[in-house]
């Protein structure tokens, strides 16, 4: 309870600070990222923490922990997030996906031994990951300005606070023992960072400016995750710079 309140306070503080600094936005500010100066510094901070701590730990994890154990760990954490996926799918009206999520959870928990093995994917049942921020998006809540959260990375004014709801729903938080909670949380954290080691390298190579690259990728990804998948079909009439006018 106390920790959720602390987090809420943290997000609230950022919101207030961001609003105040937003009022002092430069006239040439990017319309999708009016708080860019603040976001850039937080991004820079996140990168240095990542370089100093997270990346080395995740690299060591990959190096010393056998792959089946790592896969089992990833599967376990994915599985315990399925009930929340289910609820969000229902809230978004994606009934069929909700049904599949429930099937996945049952199959993986029982036949997959508490989620260690992802038998549902092998059986051809897709994952339908939905978080509360996406639910709010489907309900029509606008995202608000882009935001980089300390240590947590890209977000926006809608999804940041929505995280509070996501966290409250995470089974890891329901455990009684604080030590168990911390251990599992740490493991989850390292597991996810390990999955992203190659991503980090790719980002280093492909992006001219990592900050704006990760921002634009994040924004497009979140928009697409909420939208009807068919809305991609219509080609926007683009100006053809390669042809002579």
């Amino acid at each position: 309870m106390k920790k959720r309140a602390n987090f809420a306070a943290w997000v609230g503080a950022i919101a207030i600070f961001a609003t105040i600094s937003g009022c002092a936005t430069r006239p040439d500010a990017n319309p999708v990222d009016p708080w860019e100066p603040m976001n850039r510094s937080i991004y820079g901070f996140n990168q240095s923490v990542d370089d100093a701590v997270l990346r080395p730990v995740a690299t060591a994890y990959v190096k010393h922990v056998p792959e089946p154990v790592r896969i089992g760990t990833s599967n376990f954490f994915s599985n315990i997030s399925e009930p929340w996926n289910f609820i969000n799918n229902i809230l978004q009206g994606r009934i069929r996906n909700a049904g599949e999520t429930l099937t996945r959870f049952s199959l993986n928990t029982v036949f997959g031994v508490f989620g260690l093995a992802d038998v549902a994917t092998d059986a051809g049942i897709e994952r339908h990951s939905e978080d509360f921020g996406q639910t709010l998006g489907v309900w029509g809540v606008p995202t608000g300005p882009y935001l980089v959260l300390p240590l947590l990375g890209p977000a926006n004014m809608r999804d940041g606070p929505a995280l509070i709801v996501d966290y409250a729903a995470n089974p890891v938080l329901q455990l009684d023992s604080q030590a168990a909670q911390n251990t599992l949380a740490l493991l989850l954290f390292v597991d996810r960072r390990a999955l992203l080691l190659k991503t980090g390298n790719l980002l280093d190579e492909a992006a001219l400016d990592k900050y704006s690259f990760s921002r634009d990728v994040f924004l497009q990804y979140r928009r697409a995750a909420i939208r009807d998948s068919n809305s991609n079909a219509k080609a926007v009439d683009e100006e053809r710079y390669d042809l002579n006018p």
Partner: protein, 232 residues
Amino acid sequence: MWHGANTHEQNERTDMNRRFFAQLFGRGAAALALASSALVLAMPAAAADEAADAMIKRLSTEVLETIKGDKAIQAGDMSKVITLVDTKIMPNVNFQRMTASAVGPAWRKATPEQQKRLQDEFKILLVRTYSGALAQVSDQQIVVKPLRAAAEDTEVLVRSEVRGGVDPIQLDYRLEKTPGEGLGWKIYNLNVLGVWLVETYRSQFASEINAKGIDGLIATLQTRNQSNAKKS
């Protein structure tokens, strides 16, 4: 430091954040996604033009099989992958259109030499990125969705999905009809998990051009390519 803040919440948030990145680039699935934006092995020159979706399906499958079957690539031979991408894949991409679209209005102000250099450097960057992703392919499958286009459309959207990883990865292509040229269709944009390649690089290039002009952009690309090459 914010001592009171909860690591669990951080981790869950990281979870969502990381999950999308993991999907976007993780393991081999997205590798394949980037890779299969291209076309493959030698095709008979006089082949009749295929439907765009049939072409993508055939070529994606062929790329997949090549990567999976080549021991050197599976062992991590990057130079082999780069050669594969360069010679087999890139000829089926309308790279000029892709580069011009990413550069935007400044393209018209660039001299032909600048345009050529932009194209060359951008191509090296993308080949390198694709190859890095391709090298991670292991056992993914491509499923191409039915084409929703009229027969006379000269620009189409082909939707596909990469399966075999944690989550399926959406992979879409925009192709333009090039009758008589190559395989009859050329790719000019690519979408992975809702993210369009050209749009993403548009803002990357725009800030470079605003700060340093076209020559500045060319120099930045060149520096990046050189440092990437040193890594392999």
